[in-house]
Symmetry: C2
Subunit: 461 residues, 2 copies
């Protein structure tokens, strides 16, 4: 019996208009990456398990999709292991490959494997799907694209300045104006922890601080206390809750707060350089804003931390993020490779563009011209015309059979085709074709021997 | 200890210039698909196992990559099954998902699942990777892209005509002129088997005939005999070995040979329609040629069978193929959906373009302009200029640190950058920038306040 087909939970089919919209975003991002000097790489969908396992913490390891070895996979399981019937002992014996979980670890692996072919500094971008065995929920999928740009082998803060400008350029090109690029620095967080005497509680402190938006000042204080910060420390941290004013005013306040901490002062200097350099060039449409509560993957980042928020009024988590990390490739034996990178959250950007109606109107137009089919002789002549249109870059087609004209018109309507061409017996005899404008209802007649005027009018559209 | 990283056998990393070349092919194919009225869809990388298993024969099933269930996958294995220690019994209990093996079965699944949203006839294209646990060898990978265009829900032979034109258009756009599009029809093969009284041996007969190129007339006769064809049948088949002349001459010979067979005559008529219609429009650069030995996936195709060979002189298997099939979606319970489609062999097309030097010269040029870095003040001014270039669509970058100029020039040489910009202390003072043409060695000076002439000269390149 035939199965009723379905797809695995957390995965998606993309219909034509969805693919077109996703490609619209990818194309703009890709083009901007390239004008900024980034080069594309691609890595395999699955990696050797040992490349991925242990890189994302225990929780990450659990969420990695493992691929069953081909053939008699049980042959590599010894008797004792088999009898123990313990899935975590058996897994590494029956699975040697796993689907990639992100693009960062494969990138690190790539850099180490290809270090002799790469000219450093290496600016790479990568747009590929990743897979996570996460519990699916609204907006969270088991297969989704990541879109990363990273520079490795360059310590200069110029990179951070450029990455802010890159965010601004991409979102401006997407017509998504008014995004906020939030900026922080891990050294500032370390400095604060130092100044309040809570170096050992750096992570607890930042995790709590990161929630300021959600739980407010009192909530954060409560959580800090629960996480072991002293009352004295918490009161010293108080000014952070009330940082306000321009970026420069905030920088000055941080300068005062952190003047006793060497690392904290360095963080303020870095932040100041980025802020001032960006202000000097100006941004096209984005807003750059200091946010000392921003932590993201704290254990990972060592310098700048970036996050992008959708324009105010749009309820959506961050649509991009990134930062500076000092040791990308150490896990694979290559030391001292500093990197800085950003990523774009494709699925959320898609939703924001959809919500704000920012996709180009014509993106849903999968066909610009449909020629109706009045029979074999007419359709063969029509095909010649249609191929002339196609050669001019126009999306054009002919209805495949000479079914009822009403049905053919209905198809044209469903496909949202703006121009329908008619070549019936009479037109063929006269060497003409009729163009019907489907939105206005008007008709025009052209000579089959001279379709150029019609082609030009389409190209102007 | 750090691991020495590697990638799974049969998989590939793609370096920047490889990605650019692959995207060059994809972009041309995609653009042509769209002007021919095809719409893109995408399906998940993994499907439910029952969607894929049993669709590709026993050998295919073995080559499908299975994904291990997350969490305690052993919990679904009952005691008896576990004790049997038989991997093929255990597999379906511990793996419910599998990586897609081709794009055809997922497409059939898509059409059935979304039949109410689709306007038929549905012309879809799909360009995505597939995975096969095949033994890797030269040119055969475990992860590779397929690139398919299919029309479903249209019986008209106009589709076949258009698909021939589509092949011609794509290969012409790729500047790969002189490919041969071989054409056959399953009905002709059935007709021949009927005429020689070997209907029951249709597959044996065609498998042997398919080898004519490789093993010659005597070899084919010998194999036909071994496969059970009578001497009488083989002598009746003799004319096929010597078909020659123009397509029309071959059609006439086939007409005579098959006049007693209804299905055979129908096949000749179909072939004639396609040949004549294509000849009427003319092809840009491809050659259309009847090849009655062409069989491909015989059990699958029911009408036209297509295959594309690289231009003569290039040793390469087929670079594309396809045909008409009468029942795409029956496996998922939707009857009477006829389809016809073609695919492009990306990896082989890539190799042919590389061999013939047909990739655009500039494709390796990942950077058009590099600005050297003479220090903080100079580099910040340079960044403004670089961003003006970027906004004009030029791939431009600034060296990230003010390291030795010699080292920066070496980087520019390695990256094959045609123009290097110098803004040192003196230039900054004069409000100028110097452009060095790296191929000619010449230099020009422009005003920082007016980079337009330089930008325009780049855009003309």
């Amino acid at each position: 019996m035939a199965q009723k087909p379905s797809i695995p939970k957390g995965t998606r089919d993309f219909a034509p208009s969805e693919v077109q919209k996703r490609n619209y975003i990818f194309d703009i991002v890709r083009k901007r990456f390239e004008t900024f000097g980034f080069q594309p790489i691609e890595t395999p969908s699955f990696e050797n398990s040992e490349t991925l396992m242990g890189k994302y913490g225990d929780e990450g390891d659990r969420l990695i999709f493992k691929i069953l070895n081909s053939g008699d996979f049980l042959s590599k399981v010894d008797e004792g292991t088999y009898e123990a019937k313990n899935f975590s002992l058996i897994t590494p014996r029956i699975s040697e490959k796993a689907l990639r979980y992100d693009l960062t670890v494969p990138f690190a692996r790539y850099v180490v494997m290809h270090q002799n072919e790469i000219d450093f500094p290496f600016k790479r971008y990568q747009i590929q799907p990743v897979w996570r065995a996460d519990r699916p929920q609204k907006g969270r999928f088991r297969e989704f694209y990541q879109c990363d740009a990273d520079v490795v082998g360059a310590n200069s803060l110029l990179q951070e300045v450029e990455l802010v400008q890159l965010y601004d350029a991409v979102f401006t090109d997407l017509k998504l104006e008014g995004v906020t690029i939030k900026l922080n620095n891990r050294k500032i967080l370390s400095g604060i922890a130092e100044v309040i005497g809570a170096q050992d509680l750096l992570i607890d402190f930042t995790v709590a601080l990161d929630k300021l938006d959600k739980i407010g000042v009192d909530g954060v204080k409560k959580e800090m206390k629960e996480r072991g910060l002293t009352d004295e420390a918490i009161s010293k941290v108080e000014p952070l809750f009330h940082l306000s004013g321009s970026n420069i005013e905030q920088l000055n306040a941080l300068d005062t707060l952190l003047k006793e901490s060497e690392i904290g002062s360095k963080g303020v200097d870095e932040l100041r350089f980025i802020i001032e350099s960006v202000a000097d060039s100006g941004l096209k449409s984005a807003i750059l804003s200091i946010d000392v509560t921003l932590a993201r993957g704290l254990n990972y980042y060592t310098g700048a931390i970036l996050e992008v928020a959708a324009p105010s009024g749009v309820k959506m988590g961050s649509i991009g993020g990134g930062g500076r990390y000092d040791d990308l490739t150490g896990i694979f034996g290559l030391k001292d490779v500093s990197g800085v990178g950003i990523s774009f959250g494709l699925d959320r950007i898609y939703l924001v563009l959809e919500e704000l109606g920012l996709f180009p109107e014509a993106i849903d137009q999968s066909l610009q011209v449909l020629c109706l089919n009045f029979g074999e002789k007419e359709s063969l002549r029509a095909l010649k015309l249609i191929n002339q249109l196609r050669d001019a870059g126009i999306k054009a087609d002919i209805y495949p059979s000479d079914t009822k004209i009403q049905k053919q018109f209905k198809y044209a309507n469903n496909r949202n085709v703006p121009y329908v061409i008619l070549i019936g017996e009479q037109e063929l005899e006269n060497g003409e074709f009729v163009v019907k404008n489907m939105t206005q209802g008007s008709q025009e007649t052209h000579l089959l021997s001279n379709p150029d005027n019609f082609i030009q009018s389409l190209q102007l559209n």
